[in-house]
Symmetry: C2
Subunit: 215 residues, 2 copies
Amino acid sequence: MTKQEVSPSVIRRLPRYYRFLGDLNAQGKERVSSNELSQALGLTASQIRQDLNCFGGFGQQGYGYHVAALRTEIGKILGVEHRRRAIVIGMGNLGRAIANHVSFQNCGCELIGLFDSNPFVAGRDLEGMPIHHTDTLDGFCHMEHPELAVLCLPEDAAPAIAQRLRTLGIRAFWNFSHADLHLDNTACAVENVYLDDSLLTLAYGLSHLGTEDRP
Amino acid sequence: MTKQEVSPSVIRRLPRYYRFLGDLNAQGKERVSSNELSQALGLTASQIRQDLNCFGGFGQQGYGYHVAALRTEIGKILGVEHRRRAIVIGMGNLGRAIANHVSFQNCGCELIGLFDSNPFVAGRDLEGMPIHHTDTLDGFCHMEHPELAVLCLPEDAAPAIAQRLRTLGIRAFWNFSHADLHLDNTACAVENVYLDDSLLTLAYGLSHLGTEDRP
DNA sequence: TAGATTGTTAATCGATTAACAATC
DNA sequence: TAGATTGTTAATCGATTAACAATC
């Protein structure tokens, strides 16, 4: 579908475009120019046009972009219409929050299983969804064929589970543990969310406010 | 403290260095070379030396880096020894998970208050910590002077609260809402964690696996 | 000393911005 | 048509990588 090879920096901006176009659409706005988008999103108009043109000419000279149409196109690129089957491993605070709070639907995913290795947690449920024991992962995966796993387990447990899930056919990992997943050669997609790192970065920013604000 | 102006890309790598050096230290390793670090972290040795030399010459030619000493130095740069007073606004699933799960201590922060605008939530507590009503924010801030706010509230509520907190002296925002905080001119540090965007990016990656793995 | 590995400068690469002709 | 705004090429900027002299 993609022409050449789109750089990750571009891909990372697509969800923001998609979200903002959704807002505009909800407001009933019909057309938007790269200049308006750039103001709202804090980017340059040039960059936005450059980004969009990685995927095709969605605009029209002299007019701009049709909000609803552009949103649909970006949605297609991101694959929001998919129903990628996802499971969550680790039902601690974070796992529960992710399972409840993240709108998997809106992201082209469908949550089909929750797992925990603690026998006191497995067997219970979360908002009506049963929590399985991690021992049952193999059977579950053979039956249900999930494609994406959300890792909400302790740092030391994560790499081994990831490897195991890899052999069970899972090719995408949303990793909230601190572990650096080393899935080597094997072709999979990994997205790390290192919350502590993010907070540390913010704390650094706070310490250096005087120095760094200049715009 | 910083010499010139260190680029955000460099800062974002520091927490990873810090964390990995902690691991090495725990393993009793005394020295490490930029080459070893690069292998473990998937970077180039050059980049690691370049990064570290933004802050000073922590290494020794022919030897490498002293693990414990380097860790301490990076910790100082990140400010892990601070006790930045932090509050969480919004005690839904996500707010509760963040409050419980993130180690504020390790990140140079201290959690001193929880807030929610729902009167049925305010008045309760989380792991022994009382949840206040957001109406009491002004008084609380004047008394306790928090410096950092974690925003776990709905998209539409976030910008207004952020503005208000700004006037109450808070200069750092860890934003989990989808809102693009526009804190304009005012000098503050913002770190956005857009979970849905992250999942969308991963889903995109999953769709394009065939195309993009090449290394 | 000889070997290793840093600190640092120079070269490369990629991403962002600017400019402008194409065109609606 | 004239005005606006895109698509796209060229210029700039910054970040990563390579190379090597300094030095432990």
